[in-house]
Amino acid sequence: MEKVLTKNVRPDLSYVDLKAYEASGGYQGLRKALTMAPAEIIDEVKKSNLRGRGGGGFPTGVKWSLVPMGGDALQPKYLAANADEMEPGTFKDRLLMEGDPHQLVEGMAVAAYAIEASVAYVFLRGEYQLSEERLRRAIAEAYEQHYLGKNVLGSNFSVEMFVHMSGGRYMCGEETGLLNALEGKRANPRTKPPYPAVSGLFGKPTIVQNVETLCNVPYIVTNGADWFRSLSLTQDGGTKIYGASGKVKRPGLWELPMGTTIREILEEHAGGMRDGVKFRGLLPGGASTDFLVEEHLDVKMDFTEVQKVGSRLGTGTMIVLDDQTCPVGMVLNLEHFFAQESCGWCTPCWSGLSWAEKALDAIENGQGQSADLDHLSFICKICAPGNTFCALAPGAVEPLQSALKYFRDDFDRHIGEKRCPWKA
């Protein structure tokens, strides 16, 4: 199968410089884009069925078309690459930034051109210091060759690009939390509407897009929407970087056609379960997705199909639960994370998740009561989408609600035996 996003990524992950990137066709997308009208690019991206790779899966072209264009629009407009990647179990954007940073720079330049943004930020996770180093290097190289800066490649289009290192919080990845963080504030989310495309960073029209999403953009421009859709096995266009972690034989990342089945990823690419452990379930796309189990292995990993079986594609990097690992402990670990990362803005989230963590902790440590289980279900209901201010809490309760469904016996055993059966 054709590798698109990872074709330049070297096995030793060494730096792919501008020359090497150009040699593989790099910056052709930008060159071509500059010959097109912004609206044409947006149209092509719409037709490509590119959907956001940051977890939400929103159609990218549609989002861009919300940006006010032309002389009346508020200036400057902004583009932000969401490189915060803090969702537990997710490690794909890091590969793209370390392995082929110019690809992101080009993707951002094209996207900025398409929405007529003149300032672009890479909002980068604070711990990703190798990514930082490489992106800064790539940006400097790109400036030198006039891919960035004033009058890009002699055109009328100018764009400045900066790297912003995060202070560290999961909420910074939420697109409006990210805007507040970029403004030097606490990363609380913002009211929507207005959508950032209309009133975003510093009050100006802003597009926030995941790293992987942006990396796809130059290829869509170069090769067209039809080609892009043809890469996929399903409706959603393109390839997808899938990943697996947990007790599988070969944890890792693979660029595969969108819509590859879970089974293929798990068994062929990840090599199946490690010896001595059995598969029990998985979170298909990071910590904030619902568990899937054995019966779902033949589900195609795309936005539509995974949703049909009650979970979400999310980031496409799955976390595998095996039979030697306590599901209650795993959910406790997850809810600890979410409770800790709740920004503290809305009540269902900050109060519900901390309560959930405490209840799970009690159950895992032999102090659980059956009322705790009812209350956990109740919290899942309270934190449903729409009830909270942003998507953190609804995401947070996805693994919890599905664990209560698929691993109910394990919870009951903990409470009945007043201990964790997995602990010696």
Binding site: R190, P193, S199, A339, C346, P348, W350, L353, S354, F389
Partner: protein, 912 residues
Amino acid sequence: MTKIFVDGRPFDVPENQSMLQACLTLGFDLPYFCWHPALGSVGACRQCAVKQYRDEKDSRGRIVMSCMTPVAEGVRISIRDAESVSFRAAVIEGLMQSHPHDCPVCDEGGECHLQDMTVMTGHAYRRYRFSKRTFRNQNLGPLVNHEMNRCIQCYRCVRYYREYAGGHDLKEFVLRNLVYFGRQNDGVLENEFAGNLVEICPTGVFTDKTLKQHYTRKWDLQLAPSVCVHCGIGCNTSPGERYGTLRRIVNRYNGEVNGYFLCDRGRFGYEFVNSPERLRQPRLQKGGQGETADGPVALVHARKLLDGGKVIGIGSPRASLEANFALRTLVGQERFFAGVEDEEHRLTARMLEILRSGLARSPSLGEIEKADAVLVLGEDVTQTAPRMALSLRQSVRQQPFELVDKLQIPRWLDHAAREAVQDAKGPFFVAAPHPTKLDDVAAATYRASPDDLARLGFAVAHAIDSSAPDVPQLTDGVRALAGRIAEALKNAKRPLVVSGPSLKCEALIQAAANVAWALCRAGKPAALSFTAPECNTLGLGLMAARPLGEAQQALKSGEADTIVILENDLYRRAPREQVDALLASARHLIVLDYLETSTTHKAEVVFPSAPFAECEGTFISNEGRAQRAFQVYVPEGGIRAAWQWLRDLLIASGANGAAAWQGVDDVLKTLAGSLPAFSAVPQAAPSAAFRMAGEKVAREPHRYSGRTAMHANINVSEPKPPDDPESPLSFSMEGVSEQPPPALIPFFWSPGWNSIQSVNKFQQEIAGPLRGGDPGVRVIEPAKPTEPDGPAGPDGNARADFLGAPPAVFEPQPDRVLLVPIYHVFGSDETSQRAPAIRELTPKPYVALDSEAARRFGLNDGDLAEVAVNGAVERLPVKVRDGMAAGVAGLPVGLPGIENCRLPAWARITRP
């Protein structure tokens, strides 16, 4: 109007508001926390959830936050829907997770929004069985108490403090369920409006620290509608009493005046009423020794002193209309003197003339808030008319709102609106001799001497209307600034000019009037607001008293030999030697006051008068609004309202008319009849005869407790409540069961709404006027030049011609500085200064120098300097304050020790 459906029933509601606001206006009990009518919606607490349906057929619906949902034609919601009911209960359960459930020992108990909402949602049983988070509390100074464990993370405090009041030292820290609202370190809250946190906080995190010293539950307080006496703005308050002492003050909503908020001077200044320095019995001076006497004895004695008939009266801007008028009646119009510095007296007369005969209207605070371009000329508003500063701070949002509207963001969607405009502010200009607290919202500031400030004002007027006097010798910079200000004011829809008498500069006042009139002549509805130093400055001003300076003359010439001083410490009005001389040349001195002052010390007879809260009285605010303050409780001892003492003196001297004065209604009737300027004043509040269904308005809440026990140490049988024939209120819990007229609301309460948020139930529309109209009656209106024979100013003619001429350029002197007055919200006001909590925040006297001037005089911050001014020498520590106008230095006004320095004045400053 828009039609919405609530639980299937159609309602017409005003547009441009949130569903929550609409539902509350309709009278539904919908719980909320993070929303506040003055702060708008941010959707944090999720307490206001309702079901919204797509259309008639949709029966599933989805949960939405009513505070985040705009009303729109045909929108259908349900409050009663079971899922939203249970969601709301769950939210309360979540909020209460770490709450200590300490209502019995919490100051907020009984007036707690959290309690009310908990009851409203039906959350009664605690399922949470894990450990609670706990916090350390901070010492935030003498005004506001901090108890963080009660916090429910609604973010109202920081939103109010930072976004509304412009404070920077209160912030939220950390995240998740551990958000901490406080300061980075313990310390006094810096904002002058911090006290509103007490009412903004829906639970007991921020409470009134002064109340804590003498705590009483809300339902045990006896309250009355009152008016703040600590500056000229006239904010409406509800003071509460128990056991004969005043316990606290809370805001009394008036949509046109103070809205939801007070300043800290107004909220916490009340404790002077409880001061040990209060005068409680008449006192006669005999052989150099003061001796208390009964009222009748003192009256007889005083009457003898008055017998000669050569009496002058000195009125007071802090005394009520009734008291001033009674004194004026006692001594006669010709012998009635204004108890203020002559210059202030003159300026007050000027301001009144400008407001009554000119083109521009004096705006209410509500209107000030809506101004979209503002020039502040020579006033440090935060210090001289604090509550107005809070309104001005909101006015800078008006112009940026246009962008918000364009983006189709509802203005009440608070954070979205703020994020859209970021730091953009409407045109707001401050011209003052030194930095002011409003500079942070100013598009430009101008620092200059009073004369140069006036020159700027004249230049602005000239730039708007070239027939206004031109200003010679203007620098390019100032001309450009004037042009910029003129442009901004001209382009505005509701321009406003603010000035006042603080700098004792008539040219400033004229310049301000000229700017406003120039705008009016150009067809703009410009507003002109003057600050007034005291609560009844304008009331006294309208009585046309003689200047104080002439009193000396009157005594010298033999026109008079006896002085009656009404609630006035002359030593704060004029230099000590002058007052000494004046008092020394009087044979007899009678003083009425409630606090011991340097003036009462000299009196032959002292009558203990009643301060606000202990008597009824009417005051005229800087807006020109006459407002009634009612008596809260009957004081112990020989205290009576000043007008009552004066009436009795009148009767004793044989004035028959006065005998008919039973209550303030009678005094005001005479006043209105004899001075046309006051003709509307009696309408400020219903008369004593007012009844609803035959009943009076109760000053005590239904649940006032312990009435049979509270005096048991004196007498086991419950005393009969005092009668109150003088007002439509009763000293009792029995009274009207419906909402009284707005001017008579002693406290806000409604079943299920025990907190101050119950004001919702008293408003015609949430955040709008009270039902029946906001209290008070305007007695000052501009002339109407458009009506050919309409009423105009006192002289009958509308003034459209410009006033005065620009002063000469200010010349800084190498060896001297022009000392200008610096006002302090805590300290410059006479009465609040004597409240312990305010005293703690009052600065010590100092002289403020720019660092350049300090260098020139060889002084550093903190050094003692000798300040030679007005023929006296003061030794004061230097405060280096950068940004003072060149050639200008500052001296605080009214602080103990330097209260009688007459400023501005040239001064020499030297190292001792």
